[in-house]
Subunit: 371 residues, 2 copies
């Protein structure tokens, strides 16, 4: 073997994630590894739970980070809450709604899809119609911040509606957390999952998650065991629980958790509401700059995610070649379109550490020079 130490090139990360990770978070990850049952590590886990509650705006006891990326966080919600035969209504307005359907079906559940066009927010009237037509549905699932299209939907409206029809709610806010308002308790969302590599600007690999008492009840009253041992909340609960003896479940990703903890400390220092405001303000700066070079947004103004800007590729510009050039000549990563939007749009992330004026200027100047 002739492999050598890997030296990553220095990039500016303005795609759909990961976002730029700060030196503070990188330094945290490089701290000496200690045992996952070390009292000192356990107290850091407890502090991480509190910081996550702050970020989610919740008092939910069951709030922690799944030891795997956001897609495992999604799966954690579905395998624990969906039992064979359960009917789940999925509001689908992008790529990640499709993945929810896959999850429901692999749990033996029945997925009822409510379709909205990619690039539009979830239509509350359609969701209501589906709830009325499916009185046996027990869960409504939706994406708060669609990473594939740059659209934000309205959790509060959807949750109120679902609860009127006796449904629990599962909310995907992988790209939302810390970037746009999210108020888990005030909005009564039942199960919520996110990622670390978006607006928190920690390294990828963990999935912050929170469940309210109604979810805990459903999980405790399951007829069958959760199909995933690794993601079984009954087991994970006794691992993350700081009270009493900590049951061994798996070895936590120690250094990744150091990084997430530091990213959350940084968020608390800035203040959650200030973070939301910064993400919005920087979106307007990017928007105005792109307008000057004649670039249009896919999503209408009021439904846009400030942290994920989906822009229409100008006529005559080759998608792949242009992105290659941005990466090669400007060390700038932006995101491609997914699914039906492939080749038609770019996705410019202004998430977490990446959401700053220096990046915005670099991005606009780079795009200007290649179109």
């Amino acid at each position: 073997m002739k492999s050598k130490t890997f030296k990553p090139p220095i990039r500016t990360l303005m795609g759909p994630g990961p976002s730029d990770v700060s030196q503070r978070v990188l330094n945290a990850m490089a701290k000496n590894t200690i045992g996952h049952l070390d009292p000192s590590f356990v107290s850091m886990m407890d502090d991480t739970k509190n910081l996550l509650r702050y970020a989610f705006k919740t008092k939910n006891e069951l709030t922690f980070a799944v030891s795997a990326p956001g897609s495992a966080g999604m799966e954690c919600c579905f395998v624990n809450l969906v039992e064979p035969g359960d009917k789940v209504i999925i509001c689908q307005n992008g790529y990640f709604g499709d993945r929810m359907k896959e999850n429901v079906e692999r749990c033996g559940g029945i997925a009822v899809i409510v379709n909205d066009d990619w690039g539009t927010k979830i239509d509350i009237a359609k969701a209501e119609k589906a709830l009325k037509e499916n009185p046996d549905a027990c869960i409504l699932a939706f994406v708060h911040a669609e990473t594939s299209t740059g659209v934000k939907s309205d959790p509060k409206e959807l949750v109120d509606l679902a609860h009127k029809h006796d449904c629990l709610t599962i909310c995907d806010t992988v790209t939302g957390l810390a970037g746009i308002p999210l108020k888990v308790d005030e909005w009564n969302i039942d199960a919520v999952y996110s990622g670390t590599q978006k607006c928190l600007s920690a390294a990828p690999g963990l999935s912050p998650i929170t469940f309210n008492k109604a979810c805990e009840e459903k999980i405790k009253n399951r007829k069958e065991k959760v199909q995933s041992w690794f993601l079984d909340l009954n087991l994970i609960m006794s691992y993350w629980d700081g009270d009493g003896a900590r049951a061994y479940h798996h070895t936590a990703p120690i250094n990744n958790l150091y990084g997430l903890h530091e990213a959350l400390v940084i968020l608390a220092e800035e203040g959650l509401e200030n973070s939301w405001e910064r993400h919005y303000k920087n979106h307007t700066i990017l928007r105005d700059g792109l307008a000057k070079i004649g670039i249009d947004f896919l999503v209408k103004e009021e439904d846009r995610l400030p942290q994920l800007n989906t822009i229409v590729i100008p006529d005559g510009v080759n998608d792949v070649n242009a992105r290659k050039k941005l990466l090669k000549d400007f060390n700038l990563e932006i995101g491609a379109g997914l699914g039906t939007l492939a080749g038609k749009v770019w996705r410019i992330g202004l998430m977490g550490e990446s959401s700053n004026e220096k990046n915005i200027n670099h991005c606009i100047e780079s795009i200007k020079s290649i179109i």
Copy 2:
């Protein structure tokens, strides 16, 4: 929120994992994060696959790291290879055999347990009897290096036997990889999973895994979809495949993979066989040192894992208090007994970076002073 940057205490990690992580690996994890679809990252992933093939002694195409800890690696093997109704024979001689049973049953499979006493190796005659009594079994699963007891079993014998009875084999070598001889191709093991935080001395959070063609065939011919979306090898294969377009599956834990890559580069520099030899030699030094202070091993000499030494707690010594004192006064972490061995044994890890004479001396002197 008044949380502060976490400062882990400096420990000597001589438990069942994580082991000490070298400064080189920590530095690698602190390198700037880049995108998971960045060509530069993709080539590092390809190099990681090659390095893992080196460590596993295999040419298997399907060799990579699951983006989650070893327990997810275990689950990845079972959910992909076990279909509902499949009968799986599990040789159980410790805690992790029990977890295999959980996995099989959660996949809708039928687990046939072959029990051996904790602290003994797997009895090949018992395994043969079970295979004869269950001609409809299609998989034999076993633990190469039982982390709960410090026992090594013989994969070659077990695999030869299983193949005679038309069974595929799943081998847990979470604690084995790089610490004791493992020859995946020469021994014809079908599916093998490991962890990063043992003899590789990378941070926890990833699970190296390898599957041969027979497994690929079984997975491709499944009647039902894999129940886990996150661990579905059909999807992961197209993500880790370096040829052609890389399909988006999930966001890889970038910085953890930097760390694993560096740990594998270090292993290649040392040489795999030299690493096996170092682990063995250091075990004999520890063994001789402990003998001088009258401490016995649980496992008989020829079945011991050199990297995980299970010793009998001396009479009159309080398990919990003694380990607390080791941690508090000597910053030394050793492992408790699990399951039926709780309170009766300690587990002293000499894994990866932790396997060195300085640690051994520190460990013996510390134990001497508290008993």
